[in-house]
Symmetry: D2
């Protein structure tokens, strides 16, 4: 239960906003108690009462432009009430909202009948019935959501509300099928409001407000920021940090892209996030040929499905081209989350299936057996799994040498060959391939941090943006599920296929 923040002492008695009830009590503490007991009884009825009041009925089609906007207090009351709920209550509330205040199914089906009746009539009539049908398919709560977007803080409220809805769907707590409609309605509204024309590209520097930099630091999920010097580095010379912000959510970066400006396409992340030599130096424009996108983070769970990252990369490319007209190489240096987990699952499976030998060449197995002091077969397979799980092999130069070709080709396959509904299983790969990037280069010992070794055996990958080809690649991938890859990647994949007898 959340603290009953909404309880205010008013002249001797205590009013709990959440229950719209006033308790005569001596101390606030017991007010909360009384309030909680009361809660059980009134919750359901309270929600319904408030919903009935603030979710005004959809005006008739004829008067749809003649209905006055509801008072702003409706929106504020809804927001305030919702915020006062705990998690369970929120789930209940959202379920009620989506179930009882959605589309009028009967109205829709009547109009469907009518539409079929008018098929032989003139076009103008058909168009009008279609428009009525379209209107009748509007959930009743949509108007309220629009009105909420207009009050201060309303857009942020709706973004967070959608995050709750998504969590509710993912958790399968709610069995209401209408909850998806609510999510869809919110998504379509947010898509309009967060249309790229309304977003502002901001470059974040050490001159930016502390508040924004603190958030940039908190939101950085890919390569966590350790301290303020670290952060200063990421907005300092040879680095760029860009974010989209939105007029309705001031001071809130929506999606953040970190870029390193380098001579060559980077093959190692530590050289980017751990190197401080250049902290106070001035940029030498002659040393800048490449832009490496080494981290991109979306910050708002509620904007899932609203494409921002793609547009941010495109805008940043244009920005960089105007700053460095001769810049020719654009590439990500991306993590491969899930590779280790996938690999261990694979080894497990192979061990069970007794097919372990398929993954490595005979010579490779021998090296593994020697190094791990294990016998051939499933013991060696298990030994290999453990090696990978512990990350110990990194410390042995010999083991590392043995495993490099193995892990590289397995990783290439994981990225290139493993699919979900035809698209790349790995989400980062999927993101960049959708954007039209090429799977360009796998890099060995590219992230030697414990996290990097644990996630992807230290391997990272460059998704490279050949600007002339991104639209074509994007369409090929999205429509035909074709992954564009470099010779290095394709070579590794074919090695894997040869060895693995897949």
């Amino acid at each position: 239960m959340i603290p009953h923040r909404a309880i205010h002492a008013v002249r001797g008695s205590v009013r709990c906003w959440r229950h719209r009830a006033v308790f005569k009590v001596s101390r606030e503490a017991s007010a909360v108690g009384a309030c909680r007991r009361f809660s059980v009884r009134v919750r359901a009825s309270g929600m319904e009462e408030i919903l009935a009041r603030v979710v005004v009925p959809l005006p008739s089609y004829e008067t749809r432009d003649k209905s006055p906007p509801p008072p702003e207090s409706n929106s504020l009351e809804f927001m305030h009430f919702y915020r006062s709920l705990d998690k369970v209550e929120k789930a209940e509330f959202l379920t009620k909202l989506s179930r009882d205040h959605g589309v009028d199914h009967k109205g829709v089906s009547e109009l469907a009948v009518k539409l079929l009746d008018t098929q032989q009539r003139d076009l103008a009539t058909i168009l009008q019935v279609e428009d009525r049908l379209r209107y009748s398919l509007t959930p009743r709560y949509k108007q309220l959501l629009c009105h909420i977007s207009r009050v201060e803080g309303g857009v942020k409220f709706l973004v967070d509300l959608r995050a709750d809805v998504l969590e509710l769907i993912a958790s399968k707590v709610s069995e209401s099928p209408q909850i998806r409609d609510l999510s869809g309605t919110l998504k379509s509204l947010l898509s309009e409001w967060f249309s790229v024309g309304l977003l502002r590209l901001e470059r974040i520097t050490w001159q930016s407000p502390c508040e924004i930099l603190q958030k940039i630091s908190q939101y950085e999920a890919v390569h966590p920021v350790r301290n303020w010097t670290d952060l200063k580095r990421r907005v300092g010379p040879y680095r760029r940090c860009y974010a989209f912000t939105h007029a309705a959510m001031p001071g809130e970066p929506l999606v953040v892209l970190h870029v390193a400006l380098t001579e060559e396409i980077s093959n190692n992340i530590q050289s980017i996030v751990r190197e401080f030599a250049t902290l106070d130096s001035e940029e030498d424009v002659n040393k800048i040929n490449s832009a490496i996108f080494y981290s991109i983070s979306s910050t708002q769970a509620g904007l899932q499905g609203v494409e921002l990252g793609n547009y941010l990369i495109k805008k940043v490319v244009r920005e960089l081209q105007s700053e460095f007209p001769h810049m020719a190489q654009f590439s990500s240096l991306s993590p491969i989350p899930g590779f280790s987990v996938w690999l261990q699952g694979l080894l497990n499976q192979y061990r069970k299936d007794n097919r372990g030998t398929d993954l490595l060449s005979e010579h490779e197995w021998k090296e593994v057996e020697q190094a791990t002091d294990s016998s051939p077969g499933s013991q060696a397979t298990e030994a290999l799994r453990k090696l990978i799980s512990s990350g110990e092999w990194m410390r042995s130069e010999r083991l590392s040498g043995v495993l490099e070709p193995v892990l590289m080709r397995l990783c290439a396959w994981y990225l290139y060959g493993e699919k979900r509904r035809g698209y790349a299983l790995n989400p980062v790969a999927n993101f960049h391939l959708q954007n039209g990037a090429t799977m360009w280069r796998l890099n060995w010992r590219a992230d030697t941090s414990p996290r990097g070794v644990a996630n992807s055996c230290g391997i990272m990958v460059n998704y490279r943006y050949f600007l002339n080809e991104t639209s074509k690649n994007s369409a090929l991938y999205l429509q035909n599920k074709v992954v564009t890859a470099s010779e290095q990647v394709l070579g590794l994949v074919s090695q894997f296929q040869k060895n693995s007898k897949l």
Copy 2:
């Protein structure tokens, strides 16, 4: 025909962008000629070709989230092409766009059938078919419009496009019923993008950019700005000028509200727009009790139906309350466009119907007859009509005295009693009544400018905003068509009714 700006000489030959054709010609002038002749032949096919290319088909319902955005060049080509058309061509183009790239009626009716088939099925199935139906009702061009909104200048382009569409509808040039769908789709998109949460309230002062002030000056339709001193006055002491702007249309005021800060509710516009005594004085906060909205102008024809003025007034009231906590009186001082025209029509009608005597009392008629040297009956009615038409009565104190009660009660009736579909016929009245204002006071000799005399016999009206009552009034008006009015106004109306035997 617009000048063929798009023609550029390229190495001896001439290319007309509009036709995507190259003409070998000696001089540019004849290129334009050749181009125009060519135009007749290629226009239709050119439009269809370009529409077929840039208006991509709606993805299937299943892949709707998997389709890559079309290249930005599509949007740019569409915009460039459209701008190169002349007016007649634009009409043709918009007709084609709305007719050939709208809703797939067959698909819709199939889904309507399907929906009816599923009525007995489980809710989840029904919801899904509804969602498909909703999707199928999306016009094919909608996605293009969304993409246009994302390129620089795109939103402004769409606002102007809608203005063209509205003009097309009003002019009845196009007989295509689908053109209304296009207008509706644009309106609904613009409504989202110009949602109040995304608008920025700006106070315009003499410190604001010249570009904005020049626009403020140009857009002022109610009481035209004569020169820059006049403009300086309207943003100087005892005045406020506010505008909504939008991030996607920087430097463009969308709706502008001029306010005078006065001791009493003003009954005369010249004292506001012609008085320069206070130009350099400092405001004395003790003399500020009232805020008089003396001009509100929407600047974008394409945003018709997208409510902005209402929200601007509300925001400004809040702004003023925070600047002047003790301010208690909020009122417009509004023109009454159309009153003179209406009155002359009425007199004409009465003359024809021989009912002229109904409008004035016997005594009043006598005064008019004497003053105009006319005989009773239709001659006097015609004399009266001429008097009003010429505005000459203003110069005679006696006539002015005679006509004051007559014109005041006629005007009260015009504002209060004349309706169109149940709402006030006068558009300014309709605007303020929708906002919840009260029709508070008619003011004699309130606008003695030639324009004021010509439009409304010099009468102006205060619509007063009693902040506690605006929501109630607004709902009463919009839903029940009830006009809230003061005793003064109601008194004048009842005098009119008594005299006019209506």
Copy 3:
């Protein structure tokens, strides 16, 4: 007399701030009268009283760092009092201030004696006496001026005060020799405060605040701005307008430079200030090779002698070089104020001296005689003078052809040869030569406006800035009075010398 703005009615009586007296009077008008009569009596004593109060004595040398700043009210009282004075009173006041509150001459001479006594002593002692002497040479009012600079509006007040002092000196109204000390003290303080490191270069565009643009328009003395379209042109494409502003005088451009961006060095001002073809075009960077400074105006009379224009030109050159790295030509297109007046004086003198024939060749005189129907000798000289005075010759192609070589070589001489204390007599020439420019080209029919014809027979001159040579040229001119000029100018000068037998 200024209006007695300072008179305020306070509860029946009237107080005149200026006289610090209260008058019991029935109406304000007679208060002013009473006040004026009173004025005569109290003026002198009032000034002395206020000066005695606000100009605090110089602390002793020992306690100079231990004296608290006087209360801010001292500065405000001084400012308020001064502003309430009329012109005559101001002269009297400034005279008193400089005479009675300047340097303590006795103290100075005592220290001079002491200094001479210490010449044989150790260096430390000498240095200390020198420092005391330096301190004793500080006028008593200097500290007050410093304190005034610290209150809001104080710096602007002092700039205006200096303008008054300069006018007083120029008008020779005051015979007080100390008034020059006051001017010098002010100048040295203003020089520190308006040191270039503290100035801000602002580019003025159509986006700049209206207030600034209005001032730019008002201050433009060289080629007056006719209206706002004209002004928009001067800050539009192919134009730049820069100003220095100062933190202590916000919104006040101190010196303004107008630049035209052209292909070639302009030889005509109308093509710059009258041409509107490019008003809405975009700049084509390939057409921009030259920067033409066509107007520079200082706006603050009180900053005379505080070098700003020179620095502004240098900063602007650097700004333009960074915007247009390939820009190679920097030149003024300057008016020649005073040429016509000088020429008419010359002709008058020659006529009197009967030496008119010296100025033109025989052939030229014949042409003039024919054209003006005059007889040789002084009649022709007078006819020529009248021609020039009326500007009529401009309308006759023939006369124009005859006079071109004559006026061009006379003008070259006027600019190059006429001196005042060894420096160029023409102030514009003197300004650019001090900056290190070369007298580069005289342009015929360069300013065909009535003003241009009247001032300089339509001739204008380019002072060209060869960036590598400006320091050298500046030093040569300032130290050795050498004028650097192009062959064209030198050629014209030598023609003049040949013809004129000077």
Copy 4:
């Protein structure tokens, strides 16, 4: 020795900027070596050469307005050269500069003679000789300093240069008496440039640029900032942080004032800098009656003697009054640096003099003896000294109770009675008394941090600003050395006097 940053490899050979010499060497390292050896030989001559070049002679009095400014490269060369020097070299360089390029003593004495000769002459002549004398007292280097202030970064360079000069004077390394002249000249120039009218008051918030906040954190000398949460607290609700910045040193806070907004005048610093409860709360204006200045730090050593703190406090008071019109209490909560050191010195002295008994009452001594297990007399005195030195007494409630009255009255005396040249010995006291504050309240256990206990036995003091009295107090203190104090302070002082038999 500083790294020879100025050494650049140029085509095989190496040039050391510092020596303006080129070395043919194989590796840069040996270049530095060669350079250093070279250094010894050329240093002196190098300095002299550069000074001779960049410090141009003072123009003659007659041509003082006709001398062109030296090229900017002079200033840059001087700055670059100076920065390349190590500390010893800087001392030498500054000595040379002040000694060889200062005032022309011979010229001064000649003018002094001339001045005495003119004493009988007319005033205008006297004034002119005075002006010449004033001009001759200008050190030759002054003009260079002015020019340096005009290049980018120049003002900051001079501020740092003065810091070096002050350090040189303090360290007594240089025996040149002229070095004080250099410091004085710099101070007088800096005083003009940092005149309050040119400073900008900035409120620092969590929205301010990170760069500024980081500096605020670094500069906080009074109560060190531990981390970024701590910093956020100091700019969050119920706190204000203000700084003066200057246009010529952007992003550099010059003097920083931290303010806490409280109900009552705070008596404890931990409640201000350690309390985080209010971090996210909103300010309740009803709880804000007092402004507590709990830290003021000057950041630029080179601005010593240029009064900024005093003006900052005054401006902030005005700012706060406009934000909180009813705020009535303004006070510092100040540390008492030096009290412990002074006290231990005192105890030492008393022990030696055997007068220890004078400081405490008999009863007090007994308590001390018991608590420290020491015998009366010098042993007890020493025990007391140790107690204070270790701060252990804080942990014993009994000892703490015994020592409170003793330490409070000793501290009151230290602040009120201990003087240096008649002014308060304690620098913080001196600062606030100069500003016109009253020594208002000593607070026991006001700073219980180790630092607070070590410095001042945990005692802090409020200097209170009664706004009506500050000018009077300031003048009394500065001119008559009168300290204004409250009854509490005076009471403690008289207790001290009674006990101490002073």
